[in-house]
């Protein structure tokens, strides 16, 4: 029998600190698979800001920079401008990218910075213990929205993929989810495409990945997948929002 599925080389063979069933782990693997398949590990630099994935530098077999909360796109810009031949990607949470780091992602996208952004939207601040995120759904209870998110005061969950798609420069913007084997395969293709674009076209690409946080949602891993499907996907529709002509 042939080995048909194994840990990608770009993923370090270590145990992660993620909670059981947290889909951060799946997304890590998809990123590593894309890097393996494109054979770019030797020239890739990852950037992970603080958030549950802050220790990503331990989990990838890649050069890595840790970034301050929200600033990964700026850090990645610095790296990419210094090393234009390298492949640079950020791995950011929703609190990170859609709240404190709004200016940085908007402007990196607007400049068409040739980086790949993996945007993990789990509708919550995972690392800090489950506070409301800009992406938290209406009426969703979190530790700082104990009565449920009140959209009249806290506003609506923000759809970053759609918003960034209004900009001219970005080449590829898509939203995927990792709640089922089929969606994971789609997510895989999108993430790979986002890296391919950097390798080929040198443009900005972002993949928003709907992800779970069983711990802070207070659900079992399986129920969390279902909650994602039933609640997040209707609000955050999956699909490509911006596709470059050549790569389509």
């Amino acid at each position: 029998m042939k080995l048909v599925f194994d840990r990608p080389r770009a993923l370090a063979d270590v145990q992660t600190h993620y909670c059981p069933g947290c889909t951060h782990g799946i997304i890590h693997r998809l990123v590593a698979e894309a890097i393996d398949e494109l054979d770019i590990a030797e020239r890739t630099v990852g950037v992970a800001p603080v958030g549950c994935a802050v220790l990503a530098y331990n989990y990838f077999n890649l050069d890595f920079q840790e970034a301050a909360h929200g600033r990964a796109p700026a850090v990645a810009t610095g790296i990419k401008r210094a090393l234009p031949e390298n492949v640079v990607f950020t791995y950011q949470g929703d609190g990170d990218l859609a709240s404190i780091g709004t200016a940085e992602i908007v402007h990196a996208a607007n400049r068409g910075e040739a980086i790949t952004v993996v945007y993990v939207n789990n509708a919550i601040y995972g690392m800090t213990g489950g506070q409301m995120a800009p992406t938290t759904l209406p009426d969703q209870k979190t530790s700082t929205s104990p009565y449920g998110r009140d959209v009249s005061s806290a506003g609506y969950p923000i759809r970053m993929a759609e918003m960034l798609s209004t900009l001219v420069a970005p080449q590829y913007i898509a939203r995927v989810a990792v709640n089922s084997p089929a969606n994971i395969q789609r997510a895989k293709r999108a993430i790979k495409k986002a890296f391919e674009i950097q390798v080929k076209n040198k443009g900005f690409a972002l993949v928003e990945v709907l992800s779970t946080c069983p711990t802070n949602w207070g659900l079992s891993p399986e129920k969390a997948l279902r909650w994602l499907e039933d609640n997040m996907i209707p609000y955050y529709p999956l699909g490509d929002f911006k596709v470059p002509k050549e790569v389509e």
Binding site: V45, V47, D63, F64, A68, R71, A74, G78, R81, A103
Partner: protein, 356 residues
């Protein structure tokens, strides 16, 4: 280059950075340092280097972090409010031990204040405006030529110690034109940076730039390492200049623009028979306390002259071990003290001293 050029301080700084091998510059506009980005926006594309106007000061300092981590020589510049915004980033850069140069052409504060010259970011720069135990090397030039020399030094020190270095000036130094000579740097070899994140090629272990240490013991060890580095810098990198201090009864202590004002005041005082001298810190951190302590061995009085409310006074007191009187004269809000005012202050002190 060896021809003397008449240049604005801000432009001389830009040219010096280029000659020091600065490959990338990220910044956000703010008066009174705009000639610097404007100059570099012309020059860097000519040289095939990177000029990028960032969306904010915060983005700029984080771009610097990224590029420095990737092993490049990199600089940013701003002025007081913009420097305040960079404090988180500076703490990260210091913690991650990334070499880079930050320019603060400071202005009147607090708040929006004014755009006139000031030195009221002294404490912010020297005591750490960001969180945690860290230091910047802070260099305070007093002329266009010194801007050139210290800018080049700044890049070298940054690499040597893997630490951020700040050039601290003010609008007057930035706007002033003076002759400058650029030293010949064609043979300078830039240090290797085996720690840089340039892609994990072959079987070199991966490089990681980070400052998180969840285990307290490791974070403490990292802090000790930083403190040892700072001790090393403090032991070797204190810089100062003196003018007529030998026989001085009153020693003025002043840096940057104000030091020049004091020089004139001292000349005027000497003409009146008052033995005044000048001690000029060039490195604000590490503060040149030993040189100052030597001056304090003789009985004399000190007068700190600053464009702020006396931020350097404590450093002077500590340097002279509280053994000598330390007076203070300052103007703030963008007002540059005049030599006459300083002279008057000297005379007042000397009069008081005779009384005592």
């Amino acid at each position: 280059m060896s021809e003397k050029l008449l240049m604005k301080g801000n432009e001389a700084l830009g040219e010096a950075a280029l000659q020091a091998g600065c490959q990338l510059y990220f910044a956000y506009p703010i008066t009174p340092q705009s000639e610097l980005p404007e100059y570099l926006s012309r020059r860097m594309p000519e040289l095939g280097r990177v000029f990028l106007q960032a969306e904010s000061e915060i983005a700029a300092i984080n771009m610097v972090y990224g590029a420095a981590g990737a092993g490049a020589r990199v600089m940013t510049s701003s002025s007081s409010p913009g420097i305040s915004l960079k404090q988180e980033g500076l703490s990260y850069i210091a913690a991650a031990q990334l070499p880079c140069v930050i320019v603060n052409m400071s202005r009147g504060g607090p708040g929006l204040g004014s755009i006139q010259p000031a030195q009221s970011d002294y404490l912010q720069a020297t005591k750490g405006g960001g969180h945690g135990d860290y230091h910047l090397i802070v260099l305070a030039p007093a002329s266009a030529q010194e801007i050139v020399d210290l800018t080049i030094l700044a890049f070298d020190l940054a690499d040597q110690y893997r630490t951020p270095v700040m050039i601290m000036g003010d609008g007057l130094l930035g706007q002033m034109m003076e002759p400058v000579l650029f030293p010949d740097r064609t043979n300078v070899e830039l240090p290797e940076k085996p720690w840089a994140t340039t892609g994990r090629k072959g079987d070199r272990p991966k490089n990681i730039i980070h400052s998180l240490e969840l285990q307290s013991e490791r974070l403490e060890a990292h802090n000790q390492k930083l403190q040892e580095k700072y001790a090393d810098i403090a032991a070797t990198q204190k810089r100062s200049d003196e003018y007529l201090t030998e026989d001085a009864d009153v020693v003025l202590v002043a840096f940057g623009t104000v030091a020049r004002i004091c020089r004139s005041a001292i000349d005027m005082a000497r003409e009146k028979g008052i033995k005044a001298g000048l001690f000029r810190p060039i490195s604000l951190w590490p503060f040149p306390d030993e040189a100052l302590a030597r001056l304090a061995e003789k009985e004399r009085v000190f007068l700190s002259v600053e464009m702020n409310c006396g931020q350097m006074v404590d450093d002077i007191k500590l340097a002279v071990d509280c053994r000598r009187p330390v007076h203070f004269f300052g103007r703030v809000g963008g007002i540059v003290p005049s030599p006459e005012e300083v002279l008057a202050e000297i005379e007042k002190i000397m009069a008081g001293r005779c009384d005592a």
